[in-house]
Structures are given as structure tokens and as C-alpha cells.
């Protein structure tokens, strides 16, 4: 049997070469604002429908402001890490549109399960960026209340949160908050994850559970082309959004550097979920312009020309050009945003440096809702042990004083 025959038996040859050589994201990419700042139409998705031109402009200006401030958070935190104030920082540089576009499509009752890089989404949910900075500084592992902002804690074990999102969505179903038609009630859940994460068993199990129960969850994958040093080809040889087809729900690839398109596509996917139509996979096709984290050195594994290419598609720049060219912002607005960013930067620097360190004894109290006797014992023994040093120090200093007195 020749390979030709075999190939045709199983349909077209599916093995593809490097899909990323097509760095534009290919023909399936949903785009509404080009890198050059031109609005374009798309057959299925549109931005601004049902809004007045003023409302629409205000929304886009808001995106612009969000993205500038988010980038500023990122830049400040990176600098703080360089100055030894943070243990590490996971940069989002280049992914602002993917995060602001999707984050702004959320309603208050929706719930987000993030990775460790969703600083822009956190911003949209109303978290104080200092709460993110505290985690990377090492004063806690996330100080926000997930229920206050409907924004879960950062999750570091790759993919684990996609199952949490699916389970939460099953809870939303059980609460009867799907498909009622009440826009303040019907809720959706978003699971953020990366291209690398798509290889984890947990993520694929999340697809299976979500499909099986038709859960109101949106799988929002930021394909930033890299999982640390591994290119997307290592994880999938076909465009990632097509993964969803294998599980029986729709997938779509959107230009993740286009805030309008990301907003429109996410909004539609969320709406599907809220209406009871089940899960959707959204691949936000973007690029991690920075290092994986502040400890990473991307020059070891990727070409600088790649980065240069992607700089031309900067998510903030294209919105700025669009707003300016169409007279939707004036210089005053742009300057105000810059000033706000300055102020924010200052606040973060000062806030970070003045963060109190945690106390070791508090660690013992956080393990259980109902403390155990043995852990309470460990706590009090350790407190005694620590006290013995203070006693010793006190004794020593008294001793020193006595000595001093004695030597008088």
C-alpha cells in the first residue's frame, strides 16, 4: 500500500509544518483593528454594535487607558524586581489587549480563574495591583478575596485552574444562573491559561467535563507563542483553537493584540455560556514580548527578529493610532493617562517598599478552618523558642548594661 493511498484513506494529510512561520495567525484570525490602526470588518464578529459613536469611542479610550496603566504596572514591577524588591515577576508585556479586551467583556457576576500572568484582567476586576506585587514579593500567596472581585487566586501549577473554573461553572448551573435571560443573573466563568498549558491532562479533562455537562465556561487561552523556551509547535501541530473541535465545542482564534476583536469575541463567547450554550475555546493569538519571568533569558532560545516583528503589532500603539487618527482623543487625554500612569507607578514603588513582612506565627493559623491541637502545639512551642531568643537578647543587653554599669 503506498503512502498516497493511505493518506487519502484517512483524508487530507493533516501533519503540518511550523504553523508559526505564519506569524500573522493565518486566515482564521479574527481581527477588527489592524496593526496599522485601521478598523476592518469580520463576517461573524463586530465591535460596537448597538452603541452610539460616542459610547463606542469612550469604550475604546477606556481600553487604551487600561492598557497603558496595565503596562505601567508591569514595567514598575519588573523594575522593582531588578531592585531586589520582588523575588520574581511574570511580565505580561505584549499581552495587554488580550487581557483588557477579555477582562472588559466580563460582567460583575462572571468569575475568573487566572494563571500567574493575568495582571490586566486583575486590573479590570478591580484588584489593587499591590496585591499582585505582594505575591511576587513573597509576603503572601495572594491577599485578595476571590469572592470580593469574582477573581480567583493566581494559580501556578499549570492548568489546574481550568478544572476549578469548570467546577465553578457547574455550580453556576446548579444555582440556576444560566439561561434565565436576566442579564444581571446569568453568569459565565472564564479560565485563563497559556499555550503550554494546553498540553496538561487537567486542561483536556476540563474540556471533557465542560462539554459533558455543557458548563458555562469560556476557555481563554493566551497563545503567546512560548512556554518558557518551548515554541507552540511542541504543544500542537495544528492551530490551537482547533483543539476544541475534538471535544465538540467551538473554538475561535482571535488577534490577541487587537483589543476590539478580543473584546468582541470574548463577549460573544461569554454570552453563549450565560445563555446555556456551553463552553467555547478562545485562542487569543499574541506574543510574550518580555521574558517568561524576570529570571528568564529569552535570547537563549528565540530570535530577536521575531520580537522585532511582533513589536510592529504592539497592542497599545494601534489603538493610539486609531484614536488619534480618527480624532477620538485629544492631547490632553493622552497626557492625563500618562500622568495617571506616573502616579500609579509612584504609588506602587512606595507601596511595595512599605509592605509589612508576614509573621511566621501567622503561618500556623492559616492551614485549617478549624485549627488542630497538634499544629496549635507546634505554634506555641515555636513561639516559646522565639521568645527564648528575645529573652536571651534581653538578658544579653541587660548583661551588657550591667557590664557597662559594672565598668563605670
Amino acid at each position: 500500500m503506498s503512502s498516497d493511498v493511505i493518506a487519502s484513506q484517512f483524508g487530507p494529510q493533516l501533519v503540518q509544518g511550523s504553523q508559526r512561520s505564519d506569524a500573522d495567525g493565518g486566515p482564521e484570525l479574527v481581527q477588527l483593528l489592524t496593526p496599522e490602526g485601521e478598523r476592518v470588518e469580520h463576517g461573524s464578529f463586530s465591535f460596537g454594535e448597538g452603541m452610539s459613536p460616542d459610547e463606542e469611542a469612550a469604550l475604546v479610550r477606556g481600553f487604551y487607558r487600561d492598557m497603558v496603566l496595565t503596562r505601567r504596572i508591569d514595567v514598575e514591577a519588573t523594575a522593582l524586581q531588578r531592585h531586589g524588591e520582588l523575588g520574581i515577576w511574570a511580565q505580561l508585556l505584549g499581552q495587554e489587549a488580550a487581557q483588557i479586551g477579555s477582562g472588559r467583556a466580563l460582567r460583575p457576576q462572571d468569575f475568573v480563574f487566572p494563571t500567574y500572568r493575568e495582571h490586566g484582567v486583575a486590573w479590570c476586576r478591580g484588584l489593587d495591583p499591590l496585591q499582585l506585587i505582594g505575591l511576587f514579593r513573597g509576603v503572601d500567596q495572594g491577599s485578595w478575596d476571590p469572592h470580593e472581585h469574582n477573581f480567583g487566586l493566581y494559580t501556578i501549577v499549570i492548568g489546574a485552574q481550568t478544572l476549578h473554573a469548570t467546577g465553578y461553572a457547574m455550580g453556576v448551573q446548579r444555582d440556576g444562573s444560566v439561561g434565565t435571560g436576566d442579564p444581571d443573573r446569568d453568569a459565565a466563568v472564564v479560565a485563563y491559561f497559556g499555550d503550554g498549558a494546553s498540553s496538561q491532562g487537567d486542561v483536556n479533562e476540563a474540556f471533557i467535563f465542560a462539554a459533558s455537562y455543557n458548563a458555562p465556561v469560556v476557555f481563554l487561552c493566551q497563545n503567546n507563542q512560548w512556554a518558557i523556551s518551548e515554541p507552540i509547535e511542541r504543544q500542537s501541530r495544528i492551530p490551537l483553537y482547533q483543539r476544541a473541535l475534538g471535544f465538540g465545542f467551538p473554538g475561535v482564534r482571535v488577534d490577541g493584540n487587537d483589543v476590539l476583536a478580543t473584546y468582541a469575541v470574548t463577549q460573544a463567547a461569554l454570552q453563549r455560556a450565560r445563555e446555556g450554550q456551553g463552553p467555547t475555546f478562545v485562542e487569543a493569538y499574541t506574543y510574550r514580548m518580555g521574558a517568561h519571568t524576570t529570571t528568564d533569558d529569552p535570547t537563549r532560545y528565540r530570535l530577536s527578529s521575531d520580537l522585532e516583528n511582533w513589536k510592529l503589532k504592539d497592542p497599545i500603539q494601534r489603538v493610539k493610532v486609531y484614536l488619534t487618527r480618527n480624532g477620538l482623543v485629544d492631547q490632553q487625554f493622552l497626557e492625563a493617562v500618562d500622568a495617571e500612569a506616573e502616579e500609579l507607578g509612584e504609588r506602587l514603588r512606595a507601596g511595595c517598599r512599605s509592605m509589612p513582612d508576614p509573621h511566621i506565627l501567622d503561618v500556623f493559623d492559616a492551614v485549617y478552618a478549624e485549627q488542630t491541637p497538634e499544629l496549635a502545639d507546634q505554634r506555641s512551642s515555636y513561639a516559646d523558642y522565639l521568645d527564648s531568643f528575645e529573652d536571651a537578647a534581653a538578658a544579653a543587653s541587660t548583661g551588657a548594661l550591667e557590664n557597662a554599669e559594672g565598668s563605670r
Binding site: 480567583g152 487566586l153 501549577v157 478544572l163 469548570t166 467546577g167 455550580g171 446548579r174 487537567d202 492559616a366
Partner: protein, 328 residues
């Protein structure tokens, strides 16, 4: 008062927990129409519906991971792992998520989840159906680990575990499911029953303390009985809780008897017996007449069924350890 096996008692306890709190959900493989391979959830889906008794896709990490999300949403999931050996695909979700979310969030997130695991050997099964994974969970801060050994405890402990606001690994000795019946007073005041995180003296004695849990409680009681025939007075403690350990009761007993033997089916190496031996020795150094001895599964994988009776600690091996301790 109703006479029930452990299997039936667990079923009744689950039913009552579901009646008491609409947030209680049951999840797992085959827990619906089939009622679980051991029938512990028999009839519950019929009465509480598919939304509360959820047959899951065949994926343990998925079961525990979605249960985490349900717990965050305010539910109290009770997850069934079909057999001990199949908990490992969910191990990551259990030790890195379930165990840590309260700590990570400094208490802002609670994980009132119960993970039920039929465990232990002696049923003539094929590989992976006779494991004793308790030490691994007890070693993990953030989890609580309890084991029932009889129908009455089964009935009450499962309800207490579900009511607890911390994640509880709930181990059920599968070879006891249908072994014995006991009278259960379902009308008893639930707030007055023996507490969940407490061990219990199940036979008084003064020459040696025998520590056991789950399937080994019955074996140890029989050993104590046999020893009594030879004039020896052995105290038997049903540990019931493995994390936290209820050391107060254990130490009181050992200080009285001066000798301790721990028995479990799990591998001796780094089993619960190791921790008990270390703690007892530290706390009762001058009261001990003999080192704490351990009887347990050997440090081999669980063997083929035709040889499991010789692999599992039995009356004779427990007595042998008792004799060695008394002879020390």
C-alpha cells in the same frame, strides 16, 4: 435503631447529610444509577437527582478539580474515588490545590470537601485495588485524614466529615463493608456523638497498647482477645483520625501500659506507625519498657491475591509483635 452493615451505614449517613444540607453534592464514577461499585451511594441519585449525585467522566483529576470549583462556589462536594489505587491521577489536585487553598488564601477560601476512598486489601482483587495510601495524605498539611472501622462510626463520621469546613480524606475499609452489622440509632442527637477527630479506646487493658485503624481494628481486637486467653491484658485503640493524630489519648494509654504496637496494612516504611513510634518515644521515653513495634504490610507492592493473606498483617503477626514487645 436499625441494624446496618458499614456499607449501608455509610449510605444512610450520606443520605442524611444530603437531606440536611442542599449544598452537599456527590460526585464520582458510577455513583449514579449503579450506586457505586460498592453500592455506597445506592438510591441517592434516584432521590436527589442527577444534579446532586453526579456521574463524572472517567477522570479522577477532573473529579477533584471540578469539586474544588464547586466548593469555591459554595457547594460541599463528597467525591468518591472508586478504589484506593485510582486516587493518584488526582494526587496533584489534592495536595497542591485542595490541601493548600485555605492556606494560600489565608482562610478566604474554604474547602469543605470530602474525598471518600474505599481502601485496603483482603478482597481477592487484582492490582491497584488493595492499596493503603493514608500516610501520603497524612504527610500533607492542609488535609485531614480519618478512617472508620465499623458501621456506627461510618454513619456518624461521614456526616461529621461532610459538616467539617476543612478537606477530609475519608478512608473506608472495603473488606469491612459487608462484614458485620451494628445497631444504629439514627434518632440520636448528632451533636452528642463522639467527635470526629478523636481516637477511642475500644478495649481496655494495662500491659500493652495496640494502635490500629480501619480494617486492622477487628484484627487487633481478636489478637487482644487471644492474648487475654494467655492471661495478657492488651488495650486496643481505634485511632479513627490519622491527621491530626489524637496523641492525648494515645500517650495516656502508653504511659499506663509502657508498651505499644502499631498495626496497619500500609507499608511499614514511613507508614503511620513510624510517626506514632517517633512521637510516643519522644513523649514517653522514660515510661517505655520496649520500643514501639510496628506490624504492617511489607515494603513490597501489594502482592497478587493468592498470597495476600500471608502479606497482610493478621492475628498471628500482631500477636508475634505483642509477644516480642512483652518479652523485651
Amino acid at each position: 435503631m436499625t441494624k446496618m452493615t458499614l456499607a449501608k451505614a455509610l449510605n444512610a449517613g450520606l443520605r442524611r447529610a444530603m437531606e440536611d444540607d442542599a449544598k452537599v453534592l456527590i460526585m464520582g464514577e458510577d455513583v449514579g444509577k449503579l450506586g457505586g461499585v460498592f453500592r455506597i451511594t445506592d438510591g441517592l441519585q434516584k432521590d436527589f437527582g442527577e444534579d446532586r449525585v453526579i456521574d463524572s467522566p472517567l477522570a479522577e483529576s477532573g473529579i477533584i478539580g471540578t469539586a474544588v470549583g464547586l466548593a469555591i462556589r459554595g457547594y460541599r462536594p463528597v467525591c468518591e474515588i472508586q478504589f484506593d489505587g485510582f486516587v493518584y491521577p488526582a494526587y496533584d489536585q489534592i495536595v497542591s490545590q485542595v490541601a493548600k487553598l485555605h492556606f494560600r488564601s489565608q482562610g478566604k477560601v474554604r474547602m469543605p470537601m470530602v474525598i471518600r476512598i474505599p481502601f485496603g486489601g483482603g478482597i481477592g482483587a487484582v492490582e491497584h485495588h488493595s492499596e493503603s495510601p493514608e500516610a501520603q495524605f497524612a504527610h500533607t498539611p492542609g488535609l485531614k485524614v480519618v478512617v472508620c472501622s465499623n458501621p456506627i462510626d461510618g454513619y456518624w463520621m461521614i456526616q461529621q466529615a461532610i459538616a467539617a469546613d476543612d478537606p477530609v480524606i475519608f478512608l473506608e475499609p472495603k473488606r469491612q463493608y459487608h462484614a458485620d452489622k451494628a445497631e444504629i440509632d439514627e434518632a440520636a442527637d448528632s451533636s452528642a456523638v463522639y467527635p470526629l477527630f478523636a481516637s477511642r479506646v475500644v478495649r481496655a487493658g494495662n500491659e500493652l497498647t495496640l494502635l490500629a485503624y480501619g480494617p486492622m481494628v477487628k484484627v487487633c481486637l481478636a489478637s487482644a482477645e487471644a492474648a487475654a486467653g494467655e492471661g495478657r491484658s492488651i488495650e486496643v485503640i481505634d485511632l479513627r483520625t490519622l491527621s491530626p493524630l489524637d496523641m492525648g489519648l494515645v500517650l495516656d494509654s502508653v504511659r499506663r501500659t509502657g508498651r505499644a504496637v502499631v498495626a496497619h496494612e500500609a507499608h511499614v516504611n514511613l507508614g503511620i506507625g513510624a510517626e506514632l513510634a517517633a512521637r510516643i518515644t519522644e513523649e514517653c521515653f522514660y515510661s517505655l519498657e520496649a520500643p514501639v513495634l510496628r506490624v504492617g504490610g511489607f515494603d513490597t507492592p501489594y502482592p497478587p491475591a493468592r498470597v495476600e493473606e500471608e502479606w497482610l498483617p493478621d492475628l498471628d503477626r500482631v500477636l508475634d509483635a505483642v509477644d516480642r514487645s512483652l518479652a523485651f
